[in-house]
């Protein structure tokens, strides 16, 4: 496989994952805005932060308003992570790797691009928002499904999965880091209803509410939430889960190519850092520091994969 193709696959699936995560964040923000009394513009700031697009937003706007925040995340061309730019990037990458995709996978991503850019041509009204967000999620799921159902389990698939899980791990870590203070044990003692809402929000923005209830019951504690989203291997968006997938897919590559690369060691190291079973160890060492370190190592792994597999010259 061409190095450029590996690069295209990696970024195609990263972009798709990012679009889906952004839409989920918008949905969470909107739900929060609708179910809370009073102004919620602060909440939109933290949504922007979770999406990692706060800086760009501030450069283009004077204040955070719900309407602007949603528009920025959905369709701003200047926002490299907006749903629209993400789908455009996914599709442009899909075109460059067209020969690596099955017809079903290509048509799924091309169809997604056509419908979503169509829907995002104009500003999305509040009434249409749920419908549009639903389409984004369904379309992304269709690409994933076609990929899963029709592609060979070879190096092509491995690079697609590496992109997916690197983006997802990064996304989960960022959401946690933006809200890390509400997860600290000290927050537990506060126990106000506001904090309950915050934890719910975190769970919801990771589509994890049902999963949490199934695993931990109905009482929400910050300690359990943190454990669930970081260390629980059953939860498909947890750090531990994503990292084990990254490691698996790199191992498949090593088997396939018959050689190990420095990225295998980095993945191994990340894996060890998620292998702690006790969330209190992480709390004691500092949650924020842990998350910053994790995000940094993730970035390093991405760069190493890029070098090891000759994504660029």
């Amino acid at each position: 496989m061409l190095g450029r193709t590996a690069n295209g696959l990696f970024w195609m699936y990263r972009s798709l994952e990012r679009a889906e995560n952004t839409s989920r964040l918008i949905e969470t923000g909107q739900r929060l805005a609708l179910t809370r009394m009073g102004s919620s513009d602060d909440e939109w700031r933290s949504v922007l932060q979770s999406a990692g697009v706060c800086e760009g937003y501030d450069a283009a706007h004077d204040a955070v308003t719900k309407e602007d925040a949603i528009d920025w995340m959905l369709r701003a061309p200047a926002n490299a992570s907006s749903v629209k730019t993400s789908f455009e990037a996914a599709r442009a990458n899909a075109r460059t790797v067209r020969t690596a995709l099955t017809e079903d996978a290509w048509e799924a991503v091309n169809g997604a691009y056509m419908e979503i850019t169509g829907l995002l041509k104009r500003k999305v009204t509040e009434r249409d928002l749920p419908k549009v967000l639903g389409v984004i999620r369904r379309r992304a799921a269709l690409v994933r499904g076609m990929t899963h159902g029709t592609m060979l389990r070879d190096d092509i698939y491995d690079f697609a999965r590496l992109g997916t899980f690197l983006e997802r791990a990064d996304n989960t870590a960022r959401i946690l880091d933006v809200k890390y203070y509400v997860l600290l044990p000290s927050a537990y003692s506060v126990g106000s209803s506001i904090d309950n809402v915050q934890w719910e929000t975190i769970l919801q923005s990771l589509s994890a509410r049902g999963g949490y209830r199934a695993a931990y019951g109905n009482s929400v504690s910050p300690r359990d939430v943190a454990h669930f989203l970081m260390l629980d291997r059953r939860m498909p968006r947890s750090l531990a889960f994503c990292v084990s997938k990254l490691r698996d897919n790199l191992e498949y590559l090593a088997d396939d190519y018959g050689s190990r690369r420095p990225s295998h060691d980095l993945a191994e190291e990340l894996h060890r850092s998620c292998a702690v079973q006790d969330i209190d160890v992480i709390f004691n060492d500092g949650l924020h520091e842990y998350l910053r370190g994790f995000i940094g190592k993730l970035g390093g792994l991405g760069r190493q994969i890029e070098m090891d597999y000759r994504f660029i010259e």
């Binding site: 496989m1 061409l2 190095g3 450029r4 193709t5 590996a6 442009a92 075109r95 460059t96 067209r98 020969t99 017809e103 290509w106 048509e107 091309n110 169809g111 056509m114 190096d155 690079f159 190519y257 597999y309 000759r310 010259e313």
Partner: protein
């Protein structure tokens, strides 16, 4: 009066169209309209688009597709293929000769300046022995029809003919939408083209190739107007689609950067023009090519398909000599006719052309895509006057031909069937194993009433082309 391929001169449909005519008769017009829309949806989803030069780079357009097939009888086709094969053989012998001993010039059959003064002539190719002796691995011969038995070659495409993906996708779409038509008519298959192409390219591997030949398609990238086709062909052949920056020269071979290091390529089906192929040997500003690839080529390290310098054979000034060329190399009379052509470089011809501009078609010698040409009968006085100035300023740059009465085939419009002018580009593969012509080819159709320009960049569409089994 134009020859209509479906109705002929009479009221009854011609033989090959009999079944289709009955089927149309029985079909519900509203139903067909739905099908026409479905076809467009299908094309958009598959991503068969092309980018139009001179417009927004990101803009992708569909080439309109008409659902009514263009039909050629098996008998008509056999005659055509004999002519095409003869012509393609002559073109390859001509190219070899031009880049070696130039016997045709010595024999006085072609003026030397036609070569020496020609921009398409590539002096670097002189004395190069191309792998397998093949210059034009893929050729598209543009044919037009003016009567039941009268075909003309309008143009030879010996550089990098495009459009074959439309031939294949048009058939796919028709099979999908109108299976019943294919059970009524026995249509010769086109879908073996990618397999044939791969085999044909593989058979031209260079001397330094080891084992099963590695083939790759070289594209300028996703902004090229024909990118879809490049990806499509690479995909259908199961080979890599590479760009210039994926390649570098290692140990005298051209190698592509893979996830496991550099791997040599034996045959490169390039869809990049000669000029951009190698910044060291040709245009130094090219970002699309591979520095040094031409040196590797000369030393037998890679096959480039089509060979550099083949443009000399499809140049429009050379075109006018094709009857002589065919006769000189094959010793046979040409089976396919050329359109009578005036070379404006010749003063007598120029005078004739200037006197008759309103009746003629004038083309640039090196032009393509239907740009920079004058169609006298459909142009305004002002357009003709403007063109006259251009022609007088640079007569060498032009040839002129009579306006042909191109045949028509019905298309499906909102108001029912309507005749439109068509041409045909059959695709032809050349290797040491022989010449293979896919039955049919790409039918281009001028969608505007009365228009004679079929180019997709100028409002042309396409049709599925059927060659029937007799």
């Amino acid at each position: 009066m134009y020859f209509d391929e479906m109705m002929g001169e009479g009221d009854a449909p011609r033989g090959p169209y009999q079944d289709l005519a009955n089927w149309i008769e029985a079909a519900d017009a509203a139903d067909l309209r739905v099908k026409q829309r479905e076809a467009e949806e299908l094309f958009r989803l598959t991503g068969i688009t092309f980018n139009v030069y001179g417009r927004d780079e990101a803009e992708e357009r569909l080439i309109p597709f008409d659902i009514l097939p263009r039909i050629i009888s098996g008998n008509e086709w056999r005659k055509l293929t004999r002519g095409i094969e003869q012509r393609v053989r002559a073109i390859n012998m001509f190219l070899h000769d031009i880049y070696h001993r130039q016997e045709i010039i010595k024999a006085g059959r072609l003026p030397a300046e036609m070569i020496t003064q020609n921009e398409a002539f590539l002096p670097q190719m002189c004395g190069v022995n191309v792998p397998g002796g093949v210059y034009t691995h893929i050729v598209g011969i543009d044919l037009v029809r003016t009567g039941p038995d009268q075909f003309y070659v309008l143009e030879d495409n010996a550089r990098t003919p495009s459009g074959v993906s439309y031939m294949l996708e048009n058939r796919e779409t028709m099979l999908h939408m109108f299976p019943e038509l294919f059970s009524q008519n026995r249509v010769q298959p086109v879908e073996t083209y990618p397999t044939d192409l791969r085999r044909s390219l593989g058979a031209c591997a260079p001397s330094k190739a080891q084992g099963a030949p590695t083939v790759a398609v070289l594209t300028p990238g996703i902004y090229n107007s024909a990118y879809f086709e490049h990806a499509f062909l690479a995909d259908q052949m199961g080979v890599e689609l590479v760009e210039g920056h994926d390649l570098r020269i290692i140990d005298g071979r051209v190698a592509m950067r893979t996830t496991q290091g550099y791997q040599p390529i034996d045959v490169l089906y390039r869809r990049v023009d000669d000029e951009y192929l190698d910044p060291l040997n040709f245009n130094p500003d090219s970002q699309l090519g591979v520095p040094g690839i031409f040196d590797v080529y000369r030393s037998g390290g890679i096959t480039i398909a089509n060979a550099p310098g083949t443009g000399i054979a499809d140049d429009k000034a050379i075109y006018s000599y094709m009857p002589e060329i065919v006769e000189f190399y094959t010793g046979e009379r040409p089976l396919l006719e050329n359109v009578p052509t005036w070379r404006c470089s010749d003063p007598d011809s120029l005078a004739h052309v200037l006197d008759n501009l309103a009746d003629l078609v004038v083309k640039e010698v090196h032009g393509s895509g239907g740009y920079g040409m004058l169609i006298g009968p459909t142009s305004s006085k002002k357009e003709i006057a403007t063109f006259r100035k251009k022609l007088e300023a640079r007569p060498n740059n032009y040839i002129a031909q009579p306006t042909l009465s191109l045949s028509t085939v019905p298309i499906f419009t909102k108001k029912g069937l309507a005749p439109r002018h068509v041409d045909l580009r059959p695709f032809c593969l050349v290797s040491p194993e022989g010449i293979k012509i896919t039955p049919g080819g790409l039918t281009r159709v001028a969608l505007k009433k009365g228009s004679l320009v079929v180019n997709s960049s100028q409002g042309g569409g396409t049709k599925d082309t059927w060659v029937l089994e007799d």
